[in-house]
Amino acid sequence: MTIPVLPTRRELLRSGLRMATTLGAAASLGHLGRISAQAQTASDYKALVCVFLFGGNDANNMIIPMTGANATNYTSVRGSLAVQNPLALGSTGYGIHPNMGGLAKLFAANQLAVLCNVGTLVSPKTTKAAYAAGTVKVPANLFSHADQQQEWQTAAPLENLTNGWGGRIADLYANSGANALGFPTGVSVAGNSTFLNGATAQPASIGGASFSLPGEDGSSAAGARDAALQQLFKLDSGVTLVQAASTVLQGAVEVAALLQNAVGATPLPIVFPQTGIGQQLAQVAQLIRARTQLGASRQIFFTSLGGFDTHTDELAGQAALLLQLSDAISAFYTALADSTIAAADKVTLFTESEFSRTFQPNSNGGTDHAWGGHHLIAGSAVKGGLYGTFPSLVLGGDSDFESRGNWIPTTSLDQYGATLANWFGVSDLVGVFPNLANFGTSTYPLGFL
């Protein structure tokens, strides 16, 4: 009889309105009950690749206005933190960080979209005035890393859900035969994430060191040992955590068996960068290449790049990370375009980050936690260009939630995600993004897919 202790309750910071919630799958699914019965099928192949930028990417220095009042504001407010010589994104009047040449090329090839000022939102009419008047809620714990990371992965701005929107999509495809061999729809190459946890669908999480049981030398002793392990998995210890640990290892063994048959050792068509994100995307490319052998027709991948919490020394720190990100995505699509994989139009990559950062720098050469920011969507299915509404870069202005340039998002995560999910083939979008109900159906899908 355990009370779930210290959940990170989503709550209004100042409003008196609350949503009663309880933890647990039953409550969550009850809320999302609409999706439970409707399975999805697929006859072609599509994949979504989420690149989560952990720490809160300062999008103000990734997409830079090059003309007009915003350009002036940028230079004056950012001061020494301003990025010099951005690469122009076509004739949009905006540029991209100079270390992201690979992405600039993708933009020129019409394979990169930028969604401006997107973030977690409860309702489309979020303004400073409405918030101060109490007529609108904002997402809970806006400036907390852990909470916002959860909200970007669960698409639940006011509740604490234990499953993510990627997992909810995977639930839809779970029993439909979309992945004929039972290989999970959700695959993380960056460790466990809430994003891919479904109510029933559990993701595969692979990557890094060896992905198999030790001592597999084909001997009868090894066979007997593996059989003994399988028997141990079957025991019911009556202890919750013991059973949970067995489930993880058993799942790993099953996925490893599928992977072993499918992936093989042929090198990819190009050499991916030797960075964390580069190698993660290399692994994703291998799995996409092996999609037929894996029997997969719908996949959602989770990758990550951390270090974006640039409270200090932002210029150098962020520049290095954006270089890694751009080079890795660029290599990824070069590989996908190769005839041996032939999936550049079937795979859409998109970024997330828990928040952007204060337009006004702090005293340490860095920035602090903010809210709305710009995100990238790549792939040949993408209709390139700039989307959304660029904020007015005025401290304390209408776009600013407070006074230091915390931009109130003008596009919600729900609309962003629904666009991706719609392309992916999901029909019940509100089931996957419950908060989408607050946004009119004419406001999504967004135009980039």
């Binding site: 355990t2 009370i3 779930p4 202790v5 210290l6 990170t8 309750r9 910071l13 609350r18 949503m19 919630t21 799958a25 952990f54 720490g55 001061g79 400036f143 890393h145 852990a146 460790g191 466990n192 946890n197 479904g198 029933t200 595969a204 692979i206 990557g207 060191a209 060896s210 198999s212 030790p214 001592g215 009868s220 002793a221 040992r225 003994a228 392990l229 141990l232 025991l235 210890s237 202890v239 919750t240 955590l241 013991v242 059973q243 949970a244 640990a245 993880v248 290892l249 799942g251 996925v255 490893a256 951390g306 409270h311 006004q360 720098p361 702090n362 005293s363 340490n364 860095g366 602090d368």
Partner: protein, 881 residues
């Protein structure tokens, strides 16, 4: 003869009467008698019929005489009325007799024949032997007939024969022939005397001398065992042998039966061999020997004192068989002092220390010659202390140390929990582990990690280290931003130093730590300027993550529904203003703002950079004005902040997290309340809080072994899993091994948490369930495989060249390959492994699952590695409970 004489005269008389009647009628010429044959030579035993021709009378009757004796007599022979003469039994002297016939008509008229009498010719019908050995005295019997009492026997090779006995039909002679083997000699019997005559010869083959062989000629055999030797005698019909033994004193010689069955003595003497000799009965000069090499017997143990209590002078009484007088006894690799009673009994005394799993393999080892080791006998070894049970002590140490070791469990059972905690809390008794001071600011964290693992594997301040590690997961600094030894070492030492202080002391030390200052940007944080504001990072995280959290907490750790926030953004900004004016300590002797990075002393304040205006913080005004004054006031406000009517938030906040790190992920509200109350009533004494956590019934302490709830326990995080496994297996360790590469693969890079939010969140749930399971947040499938890999490598002694696990005791327990008994033996092994890792003998389910993987091989080492791997990788061990 008398009869004949009596009869003869009557007959003769009758004949004479009738002959006289007839002769009266005739007279003309004189009567003549002619005997035919007139001479003859006869051998004794012969008979001869004579005829008498009477002329000149019609009375043809004659009377016969031998040597004038009517009818003869026994000496000269007998003649009957028909003239048939029968030789006497002995040749008379002289050996010529006359056989005469006197006419009955004229008794003066006779015819005479001479009979020469000779001894008979001996006849041999058989010999008792047809072959004799050259040069070997023989006795043989000649069977035949007509052997005179003075007959002699001769061999034609001149062998002298002595007559042993002699009858007319059997002569027994003895002699020794020198004739070479392969030749034939001939035996004759000769009757001497008149007409000496020799029998036909009989052939005797002379054969080689008697030969004896013995089989086998050499063999090794064990004391007490038997061997049948076979002796072959050739060249003589008498094949019997007599057996004899030599080469050792009587007590150590053994024995041999007449059938050649040798039985070795039960105990060997000093002589290495015994000689067995077979001597031919036929020729005692001929023998053959076998050399038997004696070996000590096969020692077999049938009983040993069990259970015993560990200690320096444990006595084992060992029963069995085949124990040699100088046998050794080994118990788990220690040689004991042996007193030999007999081949079936020993006592052994020596040090039996607590051993992993509490089952010790006892062996008897016989010395050479032929030294063998007995099968293994498992002895249960209990710890002497009884303040708490083995299982309870093990569980307590799982929670209070980096993992129980056999010696550690014994020590705790000995002194009990109160004394153990007092030991741990007292730095005079249990010194604080010390990280080496940095020499410069260029090296990375490798050496720090090495020292961490060294402290964990060998340091006495185990509880302090566990608490320090837990505190470091609440107030996190990460090598991601502090990659240098000089930056991280002071903070790690701070955690150790403050582990048993108050939480306030800890928070203040953390706040003023340059490591934390650098990590969360409080160092060189300056008061506001027209274009900048004070950095909010430390202010926010101090409240959210290190002290009060986001929401009002009830004393049991629950929040209200909906949760009520503890602090607002205004509070964050106010606290950010409090935390201004601090820079690195002055390590170069010329203090200025900002000082050069230096981490080994608290930050130092420069008031001109401190925002000394009043701040409204958590509902109260801070007026202190000085950097440290403001800081103290702010900490006081944070530490006293509470939901109205409840304990200060920090109490259940810290209580929950420490409970999760030490004991269980899902404490009941009562558990949190109890510990929070201790926190509040002791002003945050970490000693009191830790003791309350570890001695609570929900930790399984003092609850009489009652079953714990199904969701009790926690997944061992990678650092704890790897250390606990090595300690439970009693690994020995020399400085130099870092487990960080392994723990990194398992999802936990030591000192390198991904962010200030630690490796995992206190709120992480098993997906789709209400069960809190923080450590599962980093249990990806890859991490699960990495744990399996660690378990596998540990079982193969492949973790590090500096870490060694001695498997020999368990290998002994695994050494039985007899299909009839090995399952029982391997059950002992699995129970030992299970007691060491899981705290109790193995459940039947687990036994049945694992046993097939052990019996598939006969290799004891492989069996142990497999058993250890399977238990170590099992979820039953992954989760500590």
């Amino acid at each position: 003869m008398a009869y004949h004489r009596y009869l003869l005269p009557r007959v003769v008389f009758a004949t004479i009467l009738s002959a006289a009647a007839v002769t009266a009628a005739v007279s003309a010429g004189s009567v003549t008698v002619a005997v035919n044959p007139s001479s003859v030579t006869l051998r004794l035993g012969d008979a001869k019929s004579f005829s008498a021709a009477v002329s000149n009378t019609t009375n043809k009757g004659v009377a016969w005489f031998v040597n004038g004796i009517a009818g003869g007599n026994g000496t000269v022979g007998i003649v009957d009325g028909t003239g048939k003469y029968q030789t006497p039994t002995a040749v008379p002297t002289p050996n010529v007799v006359t056989v005469s016939a006197a006419s009955k008509a004229d008794a003066t008229k006779t015819g005479v024949a001479t009979v020469t009498l000779l001894n008979p010719i001996p006849v041999i019908s058989s010999l008792s032997v047809t072959q004799i050995n050259t040069q070997l005295p023989f006795v043989l019997s000649v069977t035949g007939s007509s052997f005179l009492p003075t007959a002699t026997v001769a061999l034609d090779d001149g062998t002298a024969l002595s007559i042993k006995s002699q009858t007319a039909t059997l002569i027994t002679v003895a002699g020794t022939t020198q004739t070479a083997a392969g030749k034939q000699i001939h035996l004759t019997v000769t009757n001497p005397g008149s007409g000496s005559s020799t029998s036909s010869p009989r052939t005797i083959n002379v054969v080689s001398p008697v030969a004896v062989t013995v089989s086998p000629t050499a063999k090794s055999l064990r004391a007490g065992s038997s061997l049948t030797l076979v002796a072959k005698v050739s060249n003589n019909p008498v094949t019997t042998v007599t057996w004899s033994l030599s080469g050792a004193d009587a007590a150590h010689l053994g024995s041999i039966t007449s059938a050649g069955v040798y039985t070795a003595p039960a105990v060997l003497g000093t002589a290495p061999t015994v000689t067995v000799t077979a001597t031919s009965a036929a020729d005692p000069s001929k023998s053959a020997s076998a050399t038997l090499t004696l070996l000590n017997p096969v020692p077999v143990i049938t009983s040993v004192t069990s259970p015993v209590t560990a200690g320096p002078a444990v006595a084992l009484t060992i029963g069995g068989s085949g124990f040699a007088p100088s046998a050794k006894v080994m118990a788990a690799g220690t040689s004991l002092a042996v007193t030999w009673t007999s081949t079936t009994g020993l006592t052994a005394v020596g040090n039996i220390a607590p051993t992993a799993g509490g089952i010790v393999a006892v062996k008897v080892i016989n010395p050479d010659p032929g030294g063998l080791t007995s099968q293994v006998y498992p002895v249960t070894v209990n710890n002497p202390g009884s303040r708490l049970s083995y299982a309870a002590a093990k569980r307590f140490l799982e929670q209070a140390t980096w993992g129980p070791t056999p010696a550690g469990i014994a020590h705790l059972q000995d002194i009990g929990v109160d004394a153990w905690l007092a030991e741990q809390f007292n730095p005079a008794l249990t010194p604080v582990s010390q990280y080496a001071q940095p020499l410069d600011c260029t090296t990375g964290l490798g050496q720090l990690q090495l020292q961490f693992f060294n402290n964990a594997l060998t340091g006495a301040d185990q509880l302090r280290q566990r608490v320090a590690f837990a505190l470091g997961q609440i107030a996190v600094v990460s090598g991601v931003k502090l990659p240098k030894y000089c930056q991280m070492q002071p903070y790690q030492q701070l955690l150790l130093n403050d582990a048993f202080e108050t939480y306030h002391a800890f928070l203040k030390d953390v706040t003023l730590s340059p490591s934390m200052g650098h990590y969360l940007d409080m160092v060189n944080n300056s008061k506001a300027t027209p274009t900048t504001s004070p950095d909010e990072n430390y202010a926010r995280e101090l409240m959210q993550l290190f002290s009060i959290g986001l929401a009002h907490l009830n004393s049991d750790g629950s929040t209200d529904s909906p949760p009520v926030p503890t602090y607002s953004e205004d509070d964050v900004r106010a606290l950010a203003r409090v935390f201004t004016g601090w820079t690195y300590p002055d390590c170069l002797g010329a203090s200025k703002w900002p000082n050069s990075p230096c981490f080994n002393a608290p930050m130092t304040a420069f008031e001109e950079h401190h925002d000394n205006a009043a701040k409204v913080f958590l509902g109260a005004t801070i007026n202190a004005g000085s950097a440290e004054g403001d800081l103290d006031a702010a900490l006081a406000a944070i530490e006293s902040y509470s939901k109205p009517g409840a304990l200060p938030n920090v109490a259940p906040f810290v209580a929950l997290r420490l409970i999760q790190h030490l004991v269980t992920s899902n404490p009941s509200p009562g558990y949190v309340t109890d510990v929070a109350a201790v926190f509040a009533s002791t002003d945050g004494s970490l000693q009191a809080v830790v003791k309350a956590i570890l001695t609570h019934p929900e930790a399984g302490f003092g609850n009489g072994g009652a079953a714990l709830p199904a969701n009790q326990g926690h997944l061992r995080e990678p650092v704890l899993y790897s250390l606990a496994l090595l300690r439970a297996l009693n690994a020995s360790y020399v400085y130099g091994a870092s487990l960080d590469p392994s723990t990194t693969n398992m999802g936990q890079d030591l000192f390198n948490a991904p962010s200030v939010f630690n490796y995992y969140s206190p709120f992480y749930h098993l997906p789709g369930t209400p069960t809190v399971a923080p450590e599962f947040q980093i249990l990806s499938q890859t991490a699960a495989f990495a744990r399996a890999s660690f378990a596998y490598r540990a079982s193969h002694n492949q973790i590090s060249q500096f870490i060694f696990i001695d498997w020999s005791n368990w290998e002994d327990l695994a050494s039985d390959t007899n299909p009839a008994t090995q399952t029982a033996s391997l059950t002992n092994l699995l129970n030992a492994v299970s007691r060491a890792l899981l705290g109790a003998p193995m459940s039947t389910d687990m036994l049945n699952a694992i046993m097939p993987a052990l019996v598939v091989t006969q290799n004891a080492g492989t069996r142990v590695m497999t058993a250890v791997y399977l238990v170590a990788v099992s979820s039953q061990y992954q989760v500590q409970r």
